[in-house]
């Protein structure tokens, strides 16, 4: 087995670098392209039941080379229309993780079933959707609601289920533990960090939606902290996300406890070449530091 091969909940990925949800995920052709560019797998855009146009522009705001703000508003063509995109990617042999979002446990379950029918190998639940029942807070920040969703989905599908958690919480370990005990097979973290950009000339928020989410290098330390805390709490595998740009970043996430990694904002500058750079670089680092494979490095920083 290659040093970069990773198995999560029985599903094998040829390397730990997956295309993050919401990046290049609108079309099957783009998913395929990320895979050809060297990704170990791809996570689809978060898909809902009905088509949503998302928010009007501006939907993104580049802050500097260290950060990006976005408020896309979960644009997606709805699960029915999206089916052909997933099928296209699968037909090309792409390892697809289907990402879904919903407002209720039932909706999450229904969408997951549809994804499973399409043939995806794993499902990622986007548990930081702003359309939530409850007291106006996000589903994913409430351990109760989060558990309900995970349980409902686990009951409905056989493929592994990953719970994607938000960093906008006072207690990452609590959320991780809730997901684990509800039956999640893995935890993905982090989604973007709640943030805002103001245009000092127009004297208003830049993003149409106002609030947005911060991604990119600036959130790497925040993602690492989440993975670190989750690793100390749960035993299911962790999918590290947030600012991964260089092979060193990836190695740090492994050391902190992540088994798989997702790459989002870094795709922007690289146009996909980042996947080869990351994989080659990580292979080098593992060898140099005496690790036989990815799994051996996972959580190593906790053992010091």
């Amino acid at each position: 087995m290659d040093a970069l091969t990773v198995k999560v909940a029985g599903v094998e990925f040829r390397n730990p670098f997956l295309l993050a949800s919401g990046i290049w995920g609108e079309s099957g052709a783009s998913l395929h392209r990320a895979y050809v560019a060297g990704a170990g797998g791809v996570v689809t855009k978060s898909i809902g039941r009905e088509p949503r146009t998302g928010y009007p522009n501006p939907t993104i705001e580049r802050l500097d080379d260290w950060g990006l703000l976005n408020a896309m508003g979960l644009p997606n063509p709805g699960i029915k229309n999206y089916a052909e995109e997933v099928r296209f990617a699968l037909s090309k042999g792409v390892k697809v993780v289907g990402s879904v979002f919903g407002g209720t446990p039932e909706e999450f379950a229904l969408l997951s079933v549809e994804m499973e029918k399409l043939g995806v190998g794993s499902i990622e639940l986007n548990l930081s959707c702003p359309h939530a029942k409850g007291y106006g807070s996000e589903i994913g920040a409430d351990p109760e609601l989060l558990s309900e969703v995970v349980r409902a989905v686990k009951k409905a599908v056989k493929v592994p289920v990953w719970a994607k958690l938000t960093p906008n919480t006072s207690d990452p370990a609590l959320l991780a533990a809730a997901a684990e005990s509800a039956g999640a097979d893995a935890i993905s973290a982090i989604n973007t960090v709640r943030a805002l950009a103001i245009d000092p000339v127009g004297m208003r928020p830049v993003l149409y939606h106002g609030l947005g989410g911060l991604s990119g290098p600036a959130i790497k330390p925040i993602g690492l902290a989440f993975i670190w805390q989750a690793y100390e709490k749960v035993r299911i595998p962790l999918v590290g996300i947030g600012g991964i740009t260089t092979p060193e970043d990836a190695f740090e996430y492994l050391l902190a406890g992540a088994t798989l990694l997702e790459v989002g904002t870094a795709v922007a500058d690289s146009g996909g070449t980042v996947f080869h750079t990351l994989a080659d670089g990580l292979r080098e680092i593992l060898k140099e530091r005496g690790f036989g494979n990815v799994a051996e490095a996972v959580g190593a920083a906790h053992r010091k």
Binding site: I23, T59, P75, D269
Partner: protein, 259 residues
Amino acid sequence: MRTTVTIEEVVRETPSTVTLRFRYAPTALPGQFVMIWLPGDDEVPMSLSYVEPEPLKGVTVKVMGATSRHFNQLEKGVRVGIRGPYGNHFDLTPSNILLVAGGSGAAVLAPAAEAAHRRGSKVSVALGATTANEILFRDRFARFAEEVFLSTDDGTEGRKGFVTNLLPEILSSRKFDAVWSCGPEVMMVKTLRASEEHGVPFFGSLERQMKCAINLCDACAFGPYHVCTEGPVFDGKTLASVEDFGTFKRDASGQRVRA
């Protein structure tokens, strides 16, 4: 990174089209576009209709819906948000170029043609519009073009009908080594076909949904390509290889709709 520019000149080009000129430092190549933001309204992609060495850059906006109408009502002194330039650009090396433009398509072709002309290329132009007073940049092209062929849908100026009807004649009349086109996608499909028939390399500037413009969100997906980064200019071979071309684009939700 986003910045703010002040509109320094407003030029009414046609009843439905206006050019806005502003000072914007980043170097732009002809064919590139910017994302331009009217705070409180939308942020939209616009090709640069004026680039270096002009002291003022510019965009030329045709009324299509609410946002472009808003642009058409802007006055001198207004400040708008801008980021870019984004995307690729026209290769200026061909020495005998035919432009085929429909509607606001002339906006992106004009600065490219001027730049090619400055390098010594010969440029001929086929301009289509719905009606006579909607013909865009007729005088601008006349200043340096070998010939300017006109057509209008209603026959009020030039040949009546679609601009593509002019192509067999023009392409037979002389040897071109490039066709550059921008306009409605059906027009570009026909222009590509005509160019192929005459063995002339084709380059077309495409429009798709744009959200991020930085190769991230996939809104501009065109087959496996991203129009914001690998386009908007594609060569004929690439266009012909992508099933989307002339058949479908994606709306803001990602659903396929007719191109």
